[in-house]
Point group: C2
Chain length 199, copies 2
């Protein structure tokens, strides 16, 4: 196998979701689509590596700083949604149901990996919270790490005169009770919504 081929496969195999075998398949697939895919992808990658940077306000990735969301005057600057990762920001943006700003942590607190509050920009979040923010929504993943981080952030924000909320737990839309784990079902029961009062 040619050296430049082996190098390509080795790099492709580092992508999440691709192992050595699928990296070989991907490399062959690319070589068969040189003009239509391989060269455009190489160019797009080089361009993105050069132009995309983290927004200094919220941590979102964009070609502009501040990012398009922070720079948009139609988005409510009084509402800040805290997410672990840019992928979570995209997930919320895809709903089209949120018109506030964001704060991207870039991870969760982890004593094991040596990730402390300063690595996640929690000081910056507290400073933003003190400057005209009405509500901070904690939208961390419902994992132990995510919830630990959420608790820590809540403690840090406790003294500030703003509302702190978190995403609701419950039955996923379209989900079947029979297949749901006990934790989610318990949370859905505890947070049940009243449809009609007792009166």
């Amino acid at each position: 196998m040619a050296d430049s081929f082996a190098a390509l496969i080795q790099l492709l195999a580092k992508l999440p979701g691709l192992g050595p075998r699928s990296a070989r398949r991907a490399a062959l697939f690319l070589l068969k689509r040189r003009e239509s895919l391989m060269q455009p992808l190489a160019a797009a990658m080089a361009e993105a590596a050069q132009r995309i940077r983290a927004c200094s306000t919220c941590g979102n990735l964009d070609t502009a700083d501040p990012c398009a969301i922070c720079a948009d005057p139609r988005r409510d600057a009084g509402l800040v949604c805290v997410v672990e990762d840019v992928a979570d920001l995209w997930a919320i943006e895809r709903t089209g149901a949120y018109a506030g700003r964001y704060h991207v942590l870039g991870g969760t607190l982890s004593a094991l990996d040596g990730i402390g509050p300063e690595d996640l920009g929690i000081d910056a979040l507290a400073r933003r919270g003190a400057q005209g923010v009405r509500e901070i929504i904690l939208a961390m993943n419902a994992t132990v790490e995510g919830q630990t981080t959420a608790h820590y952030i809540m403690d840090r924000l406790a003294a500030l005169p703003l509302q702190v909320s978190r995403l609701a737990h419950g039955v996923p839309v379209g989900g079947e009770l029979d297949y749901l784990d006990e934790g989610t079902l318990s949370a859905a029961l505890a947070s049940r919504q009243v449809l009609k009062g007792a009166g």
Copy 2:
């Protein structure tokens, strides 16, 4: 989402094994490893797209033409192994058990997709067969398409004074009979190897 980001994700999603969701993950993964992965991968891709070409003798992909295998004098030019795809050539090379040359078809005969013998270089194979080749090994996949193509090639080579063989069917090494399909087991029975004669 920034335009250059969206373009990158759209191109990544075209790779085999990556869908829209995993392409987003891969793009974020790359952007977090700009220097260590993203720029090297972009460069490797651009270089491979420019330098790697099909060997005009055997169809293998390499930076040189003839490819390293065709140019290697230690490899037996009298033995040609016919494979569907470069990935199959690599698979055979990984065994380290083959020291002949190759012929890469680049697909299988398919009336539906309009792929005829001329698209697979079968004429070129017949010409190679007429020039000092002792044996041609048909190593197509054990699929209907692969075996149809193998039959066609065998017919084309019938008049030439050379041996034509195919890979053995049988129990995979480490395989359990209980989990084997009937076709493989029948083939293994029919091709059983004598350990001790009746005498």
